[in-house]
């Protein structure tokens, strides 16, 4: 019995080498060295399944959706809607609650506009946090300017966690929405979203989660979370760029006016007045990113085939190893040391500018992100110009981290000479 279990376990062991072979870009050379791609939080690389699905679409399906009576158009429509179903099933959402967008940014802008039009008036408050990506700050600033509403920020602690006591105090009868990230892109913090949602719901306040950094790493169940809006981007979950998803509870979507006009969002257009489709089509003006939508489902299928438990196990291993190795480097200061973290390590080296370190690592074939990561308020808070951020994916290896550490030491040696 024991032996059988062990054999089974070894079969399901994550075979990184064979997975890496499914990602052609991982074998390119940069400055004459093998690429080490640690910029996965910015965008992930694509497996052959995804790359091939893009060409298959254009070779055999390409046509406009929801319009033609001809064969290709119905084939494209079928696949487009089947992809919506795949994504809905993955999120445990109803299919009519899944809206195609250009990405997380557009999804948040859509809610800020349409929910804002329906529910936010002068003097109302929106709560976000100081650890948000600019894409989850600026749409709310625009909304607040438009409606003369007030934007409130949950502060963050030194270790990079949300100040939950403050959050509780910010929730009031004036609060119309809470919008925070599920996982922080610059700190890696996994936020206590269940608690955030239940505290807001206790006061009948809906919650939007920016899931751009969560979706690549964990299985998200919108019903279990009971979240009102959830957004993510295709290109961070091993799918194409220019496609993203907004999940919204039907009860909200039905009450929200369109975001943009034209194309598929109309029911009837007359010179004096138009009527609109029910969600989700109401929010999908113009010809959508058909290929992106269909292939996003391919990417989601790919991740499910790998299995989120296996993905998490591999990524946690990489995070722990990188954190341990980096800790031994003199003058290192981690930015973001939350208890629950995604596979992101952000740091600075005493006396050195992150830009210089980034350039030196690039020369050695290593792709990290340096700068403020579109989270300037966080950098202001820590009084730093930016950080060096290494973000891992399941296709990264312990050996790559070893090369990275050696390269980092070399960079420091040159810069400190």
């Amino acid at each position: 019995m024991d032996t059988t279990l062990k054999t089974k376990a070894s079969h399901t062991e994550f075979d990184v080498e064979s997975i890496r072979r499914e990602f052609p870009i991982l074998s390119v050379k940069v400055h004459g060295r093998p690429l080490i791609y640690f910029d996965n939080a910015a965008s992930s690389q694509k497996p052959l399944a995804v790359i091939k699905a893009i060409s298959t679409y254009y070779e055999t399906v390409n046509s406009n959706v929801h319009r033609g009576v001809h064969h290709l158009s119905s084939l494209a429509t079928d696949q487009f809607e089947a992809a919506r179903k795949t994504i809905a099933t993955h999120l445990n959402a109803n299919v009519d609650e899944v809206i195609y967008t250009r990405g997380t940014t557009e999804a948040i802008n859509l809610v800020a506009f349409s929910y804002g039009e329906a529910f936010v008036k002068e003097g109302d408050e929106i709560i976000i946090s100081q650890m948000e990506h600019h894409s989850n700050i600026v749409p709310w600033q625009l909304l607040c300017e438009r409606k003369k509403a007030v934007l409130k920020y949950i502060s963050i602690t030194e270790s990079g966690e949300l100040n939950m006591d403050e959050y509780k105090k910010l929730l009031s009868v004036k609060t119309k929405l809470v919008a925070v990230n599920h996982v922080s892109n610059s700190l890696g913090t996994i936020n206590p979203v269940e608690e955030i949602i239940s505290l807001a719901h206790a006061k009948n306040i809906p919650v939007l989660l920016d899931g751009a950094q969560a979706m690549p790493h964990m299985k998200v169940d919108v019903k279990e979370l009971d979240v009102d809006f959830y957004c993510f981007s295709g290109h961070k979950v091993y799918g194409p760029t220019g496609i993203g998803i907004l999940y919204g509870k039907e009860k909200w979507l039905k009450q929200m006016p369109p975001y943009q006009g034209g194309g598929e969002m109309i029911k009837e257009v007359h010179l004096d007045k138009s009527t609109y489709q029910e969600p989700p089509l109401r929010f999908e003006a113009g010809t959508p990113n058909i290929e992106g939508s269909i292939v996003l489902a391919t990417a989601i299928d790919y991740m499910n085939k790998l299995g989120f438990d296996a993905i998490a196990k591999q990524e946690n291993k990489l995070l722990a190893y990188a954190t341990e190795k980096l800790s031994a480097i003199p003058g290192i200061k981690f930015v973001g040391q939350a208890k629950h973290k995604s596979a992101i390590v952000a740091f600075n080296i005493d006396g050195l500018h992150p830009y210089d370190i980034g350039v030196m690592l690039d020369q050695q074939g290593i792709a990290v992100r340096t700068g403020h990561h579109c989270t300037q308020p966080i950098m202001d808070l820590y009084c730093i110009p930016g950080t060096v951020r290494a973000s891992f994916s399941f296709y990264n290896t312990i050996e790559e981290i070893d090369v990275f550490i050696t390269a980092l030491k070399k960079a420091i040696e040159i810069l400190k000479k």
């Binding site: 400055h31 050195l352 500018h353 992150p354 830009y355 210089d356 980034g358 350039v359 030196m360 020369q363 340096t370 700068g371 403020h372 110009p385 930016g386 070399k410 040159i414 810069l415 000479k417």
Partner: protein, 140 residues
């Protein structure tokens, strides 16, 4: 020395390096000799913001020629800034306006001019040309 001659000199200096390390060590060294901007000019008006590293630049006209002083918070950017200044400083506004700065490409540093590098170098070169235009107009 003309701008082109100064560029040629820099290109020759870099020819000795056959690996990236030597090249970047030299860039960093050049940064240490940048004509340092006076602290009093390190204000908002003299700041050129890249997305990542900051550059401060000041220009002054003396006897019909422009002299630059600068600084940056990143070492590599500072070295690149020092190189641009060493080539352009001491020339007339017209000469500076017409300069092509081909040395950056020839040394293989063109990627530092890419907007994605966001180091402020591209913005600094634009500012230098704007300063030169302003000085040229003031002269008239």
């Amino acid at each position: 020395m003309s701008i082109e001659e100064a560029e040629k000199g820099l290109i020759e200096d870099f020819e000795v390096f056959d690996d990236w390390m030597g090249k970047y060590e030299y860039i960093i060294d050049l940064g240490k000799d940048v004509p340092m901007i006076d602290e009093k000019y390190k204000d908002e008006n003299h700041t050129i913001k890249g997305c990542q590293s900051k550059v401060w630049l000041h220009s002054e006209m003396k006897d019909g020629r422009i002299y630059f002083t600068a600084d940056s918070d990143a070492m590599i950017t500072k070295g690149l800034v020092a190189m641009v200044i060493s080539v352009l400083s001491g020339h007339t506004p017209e000469e500076i306006m017409q300069s092509k700065l081909e040395f950056i490409d020839k040394i293989g540093l063109q990627e530092h001019l890419s907007p994605t590098r966001a180091n402020g170098l591209l913005a600094m070169i634009k500012q230098i040309k704007l300063d030169a235009t302003a000085h040229a107009l003031a002269k008239k």
